[in-house]
């Protein structure tokens, strides 16, 4: 007994097999005849998906478009093509215009156009510093990154932590600097923060939901913004705007995760930031215009988010560029002068929004104690031990002009004008005046000028600058 396959079924199977084989052969030959090309990012060599490739026939006005796939590959049907040019477009890249291709001569037997590279127009974070610098210049840049005033104490402190720096003439860009440990908060301040957070979760639970809503709303607006292709970019360059919005969106996403994780932390402050962002984006969408002022606000929010979260990408973007200009690489309008933070200083429009007080800046005084060759910035040796007093240099003996930090010792706050001040430190335990490491002096004159290049207040609240004071036992 054998299996007998009915003749008609066998015929059908054979027919199907034959047709599949035929179809495969046809498909193979069809692919073989398509003109192939690959679109890559010129900088990263990464394939660019969804790029629009416009084929323009030179012998007629006909043109049609195809798109690249995930691997950046596009295929063009050579039917009716004799000579043609390509125009490759992708948002965020410069449009590529190819030379004229002749099907017989240029495309070749493989029908392969090869690689087409697009130049990105989006401003990416500046490349890492590759310049060798003198130790002073190198440290100056570090101070700017750390929001630390470049005082004599600050220099002495960093030299004490990195003694080999003194012997180096030019510091390599990748040099790993041992940074001062930021002093811990005194217990009272910790308690104050903790109380705030407890209160936040107990009384303002609704705030957390509002916060989450704000984030979602902002993300929605952001997406709308990006896809509003007809938006009239007035002033700001499209790519720069997009870049800022991308940063904000990324930070918002990071922040959303952060909030979901911590729930309580910094909710009140951050909600202001998010709401500010929402208002601006909404205004841009309504007017279909991004103005200079809004551009400035968004950039500022970007910086604040970078500082608060902090996300690597935006922190790098905003802080790698030196002491004066926090974000100088941002373009403005493509043709105009680039905008830097130093030029924002002249802009009065942003001031009301951020409620800046120009006459004063807030500082926190961080004490670093040098003892037995070690630098101590926390623990009982430092905390609650010192009283910091400052006064205008000429008015040492005038009690009325003296300023004292609001709490003894490290991490105390003080508000100062744009002027030099002479600082003195007293040991509360013994009552004696401490000596500064620099020149073994009783006091040190510190100018607050650098802090006045930055804003006094941000959406997050008061902008603080660190005054390091390096004393010895």
């Amino acid at each position: 007994m054998g299996h007998v396959i009915p003749g008609n079924i066998l015929t059908a199977i054979l027919c199907i097999c034959a047709s599949v084989a035929n179809a495969q052969t046809n498909a193979y030959s069809y692919v073989q005849q398509m003109i192939k090309g690959e679109v890559l990012n010129k900088n990263t060599r990464a394939p660019i998906p969804s790029a629009e490739v416009k084929v323009k026939k030179t012998d007629s006005k006909n043109e049609y478009s195809v798109r690249t796939d995930e691997k950046g590959i596009f295929l063009i049907n050579p039917k009716d093509l004799t000579s043609f040019t390509l125009e490759v477009k992708k948002f965020g890249y410069e449009t590529y215009h190819s030379p004229m291709y002749n099907l017989k001569d240029d495309v070749g037997v493989n029908y392969n156009l090869g690689e087409i590279t697009l130049v990105p127009t989006i401003v990416y974070p500046p490349p890492p510093d590759t310049v060798k610098r003198t130790p002073e210049e190198f440290l100056e840049r570090k101070f700017a990154e750390l929001d630390m005033l470049p005082t004599a104490s600050a220099y002495t402190l960093l030299y004490a932590l990195n003694p080999e720096l003194k012997d180096i003439k030019l510091v390599e860009p990748g040099y790993k600097l041992i940074l001062p440990k930021i002093p811990v908060m005194p217990p009272e301040q910790k308690k104050s923060f903790s109380d705030h957070f407890k209160q936040d979760s107990r009384e303002d639970e609704s705030l957390q939901f509002v916060l989450k809503d704000s984030i979602d709303y902002c993300k929605k607006l952001y997406n709308d913004f990006l896809f509003t292709v007809n938006i009239n970019y007035k002033g700001a360059s499209r790519d720069t705007t997009r870049r800022i919005l991308e940063l904000i969106n990324k930070d918002l996403a990071d922040y959303g995760r952060e909030v979901r994780r911590t729930r309580k932390a910094k909710a009140i402050e951050l909600i202001k930031l998010i709401n500010g962002c929402c208002i601006i984006l909404n205004r841009c969408l309504e007017k279909r215009v991004i103005t200079y002022q809004d551009f400035f606000y968004l950039q500022h929010i970007g910086l604040q988010l970078a500082l608060v979260l902090p996300s690597e990408i935006s922190r790098k973007y905003y802080s790698e560029t030196g002491p004066v200009s926090k974000a100088p690489s941002l373009e403005w309008g493509g043709q105009g002068p680039s905008i830097t933070w130093s030029s924002y200083k002249d802009e009065t429009t942003g001031e009301d929004f951020f409620e800046n007080t120009r006459a004063l800046r807030a500082f926190n005084v961080a004490i670093y104690l040098s003892k037995n060759g070690q630098v101590i910035s926390e623990g009982d040796e430092v905390l609650k031990r010192f009283r910091v007093v400052c006064y205008p240099p000429a008015l040492t003996g005038v009690e009325a002009t003296r300023r004292e930090c609001d709490s003894p010792a490290t991490f105390a706050y003080i508000t100062l004008s744009n002027a030099p001040y002479e600082f003195m430190v007293f040991d509360l335990r013994t009552g004696r005046q401490m000596k500064f490491v620099k020149d073994n002096a009783d006091s040190e004159v510190i100018s607050t000028e650098d802090a006045f290049r930055e804003f006094a207040k941000t959406l997050m609240g008061v902008n603080q600058f660190q005054i390091p004071i390096y004393i010895k036992e």
């Binding site: 120009r358 006459a359 205008p392 240099p393 000429a394 008015l395 003996g397 005038v398 002009t401 004008s417 744009n418 002027a419 030099p420 001040y421 006045f452």
Partner: protein, 211 residues
């Protein structure tokens, strides 16, 4: 539209308003916050008093001689005004120091004389010989102009304030005087006399007869 005749008819009010603007403009020009109230209020007040006084003094029958005499007075007043403006500017620069704030705006503050430095200021200048100007001294050693009383004696500062106000008053009085006299002469073209006796319609016609 207001014609010249109307302006001259209400010349006292016009001059007062003019000097109110002058006071405000001068405050903006000199950027001296401490003196702003004086400058703003004194100018229109003096203008009102002086122009009223001049108007009152000149209520008389006009003659060519009197008019020529007035012309001489105006010339002298303008001459004196120029000298007063020069002297006042000179004194202003001597008695004030410019201070650039954190907004990069320059404002002027009244200081004391050089020989009225306090001991603190003298010591500070000795310690810092590189500091050559008072503005620099105030910035580097005294935090800002609000502490200037520690750099100069109160008496010296008050003295300079007094002189600045006096000088300003002299400039305004001379200026108002010159303008008032000028307006009185110009108004002669229209009325018969400064005494308000005839109707405005006849004013133009009778001018010739009087002379």
């Amino acid at each position: 539209m207001i014609g010249m005749g109307t302006i001259l008819q209400y010349r006292v009010a016009f001059i007062t308003a003019l000097f109110a603007i002058f006071g405000g403009a001068l405050t903006l020009l000199l950027q001296i916050d401490e003196m702003e109230t004086y400058y703003r209020s004194l100018a229109p007040l003096l203008a009102l008093v002086v122009s009223l006084f001049i108007s009152f003094m000149l209520k008389m029958k006009w003659s060519t001689k009197a008019r020529n005499f007035l012309k001489v007075i105006i010339s002298v007043l303008f001459g004196l005004l120029l000298i007063a403006v020069y002297m006042y500017t000179k004194f202003f620069l001597k008695a004030t120091f410019p201070f650039r704030d954190s907004e990069d705006k320059v404002a002027y503050y009244v200081k004391g004389d050089k020989d009225s430095y306090t001991q603190v200021a003298t010591d500070f200048r000795k310690k810092n010989p590189g500091i050559t100007s008072d503005a620099e001294m105030i910035r580097m050693g005294f935090e800002g102009p609000h502490n200037k009383r520690y750099a100069w004696t109160e008496e010296s500062i008050s003295n300079n304030i007094l002189w600045l106000i006096t000088g300003y008053c002299i400039v305004v009085i001379l200026f108002v005087g010159a303008v008032s006299f000028l307006s009185e002469i110009l108004s002669l073209k229209y009325p018969k006399s400064t005494k308000r006796s005839s109707a405005p319609k006849k004013r133009g016609k009778n001018n010739k007869d009087e002379e």
